[in-house]
Symmetry: C2
Subunit: 375 residues, 2 copies
């Protein structure tokens, strides 16, 4: 095993996960400035990154408010000094002991829930919670006019555990363009602000009104009544986000370095040593206007080779070919050629790797940042 | 973090990867007996398992002949005593140094290749190789009648590096039933035996004739001329294999334990704490006769709840619902209910986890077996 810290990009074994730090910093700055302009605080979601080094950069160099998707993330980030954490997956009752243990260590860990069984258990455990609101029919949550909202709110309020409401417009990923995303942002705002009004109207506390997804966070025009914004994949971006015009391929900070290992010339196939184990099985662009297969191919320096995609993937093999309808010939990519693959879905691709190989603008020494997984 | 060694299944935090050891042992025995009956040696592929404990069981308790998909696997398994290893992904030239280092430590590590650039580099590095043969148009490899076969063979032979030929009928996964798989097994046999004859006819050595995929290994009727059989996913099996009749759901040894965290009653949705991070993004049954979504739902004891599937998955959320056309009502699954999800693709699901929680028949104490990843 070689220590990538000692290696240049040219010597890095493949497949390997690359992170362009300057692209990431540009993405981080862009959304931070948006949040400031909208008058809300930003609570970045670290489920994509799962890295202390990325966390440090996204919270501006000092511990800040963050969102997580697992208790493993909460434990690791709290251990590194982050003490204001939202665990944004509906709480499983069995996990409350670990939540309590973290809170006893001084972590202000807040959970989310959408039903009475959870509310009763959370109230008994004396853990603060946000009520999940369904703003778009995508997943969990209560509609603002659901009578269960006040029942759940009262259980939490009466035990001092009601912090507020939250929503996530997952359906915003299915539409394209800033106008469509702004509409979903308004759905998020309206649903949560309505729910907060319902709760307050019943005499229940509701300090926090939390909304967000990467598409809506980049499109929202007005967040009146909202207190905080959440987003996650924006720090890296990916082809799914580019496919709905939240970013361009040039904003994508994450890629997989790979090596050409063979060809099937009659079929126009170039074989690479990155299969789904390195790229993930995510096919998020399959339902978009432009299907990017298992990823868009770039040269070793990150220049997009238009119309060249990973059209098929086995566990450790990828097949690179021209996309259907391409009007150029297949480029010459001899055995040994190194390529970069832009991912469909940064969360899924990053999860296949245990480290980021971090590239600095202008070609300074490569850094290695660990990433973690598990629950 | 809790040590699962100390836990019973009832107390295991979710999501978690479960392995039924007795089902795995039944699957291992089944294919070992087939190989003996067919008169070939078995070289199990450990890319699915990536576990020393599974390797130990699949090779009968002593180090044996194995197949791997990464050099990380080769290094870890060799370190544990396995010294007869086929690395069955076309060799990237940059990886030859690590191959040489392992060989210098006494590991008989053999690589595969299908072109002259690879053959020249491998010959210079004095590394033994099998030539990959294309038996079904699925991926890489040379057709037996391709004139490049003899050119590549001669480069290897002249440097003492030609061990033989190998193929993998990946297309066998796309057809259903033992007759169809037997046809692919015969394609594998014919292509490799023909290639071996071409090489031998040119005065080149070809000791090894290696074939295999899980479907063809379970269906082959005659392997005359073949010396060894390879297969990987058979030790665990999965819904993709069940969907093409290589196994039944009762043979599937791998599952993901999960907890119900909420409901959307109007939609017939039950939310669970296993999303694609725990199940993988693999949708291998999407193109089969029965689409199992992101997995088939069982009760906590592993009893299949027919017609209940994970119909949708976010990163840490799954949505359980009845499959289209189900003629039963949605069962009552209160918050806190624990379920098991059978995976579409064992290789992809196992790769999302760092350990197996191993269940013994009859409910003996649960064991924990580590698994590894990386390259």
């Amino acid at each position: 095993m070689t220590d990538p810290d000692l290696l240049s990009l040219k010597a890095l074994p493949t497949p390997a996960l690359l992170l362009d730090e300057w692209r990431m910093m540009r993405n981080i700055t862009r959304l931070a400035e948006r949040a400031t302009g909208l008058g809300v605080s930003l609570r970045p979601h670290l489920k994509t990154a799962k890295s202390l080094d990325v966390a440090n950069r996204v919270t501006g160099g000092a511990p800040g408010s963050i969102t997580v998707s697992t208790l493993a993330e909460a434990e690791i980030f709290h251990n590194a000094g982050h003490s204001d954490i939202l665990y944004a997956v509906g709480i499983a009752l069995q996990k409350l002991e670990r939540v309590q243990a973290l809170r006893a260590q001084g972590c202000d860990l807040v959970v989310i829930l959408d039903n009475q069984a959870q509310a009763q258990a959370v109230a008994r455990a004396n853990v603060p919670a946000l009520i999940e609101i369904d703003s778009d029919g995508h997943r969990g949550g209560l509609r603002p006019d659901d009578p269960v909202l006040i029942q759940v709110g009262r259980i939490l309020h009466d035990s001092g555990c009601l912090r507020g409401v939250m929503t996530h417009a997952g359906e915003s990923y299915t539409v394209r363009g800033v106008e469509a995303h702004a509409d979903f942002a308004e759905l998020e705002r309206k649903a949560t602000v309505s729910a907060a009004e319902v709760l307050r109207g019943a005499g229940l506390s509701c300090a926090v009104v939390s909304v967000g997804s990467t598409p809506t966070a980049h499109a929202a025009r007005d967040l009146t009544g909202v207190t905080e914004l959440r987003a996650g994949v924006y720090m890296f971006f990916d082809l799914v986000m580019a496919g709905i015009d939240v970013c361009t391929p040039d904003d994508i900070a994450l890629s997989v370095l790979t090596t050409v290992i063979g060809h099937q010339p009659a079929k126009g196939w170039t074989m690479i040593d990155a299969g789904w184990m390195a790229l993930s099985r995510d096919r998020g662009t399959a339902s978009q206007d432009v299907d990017q297969g298992y990823g868009l191919v770039c040269d070793e320096n990150g220049l997009v080779l238009n119309d060249l995609i990973v059209s098929s993937a086995n566990q450790e093999h990828g097949i690179v070919s021209l996309r259907p309808g391409a009007d150029k010939p297949m480029p010459n990519l001899p055995v040994g050629t190194r390529l970069r693959i832009l991912p469909n879905h940064a969360c899924a691709t990053a999860a296949q790797h245990d480290r980021y190989n971090v590239l600095q603008q202008g070609g300074g020494p490569m850094k290695t940042w660990d990433r973690f997984g598990g629950w």
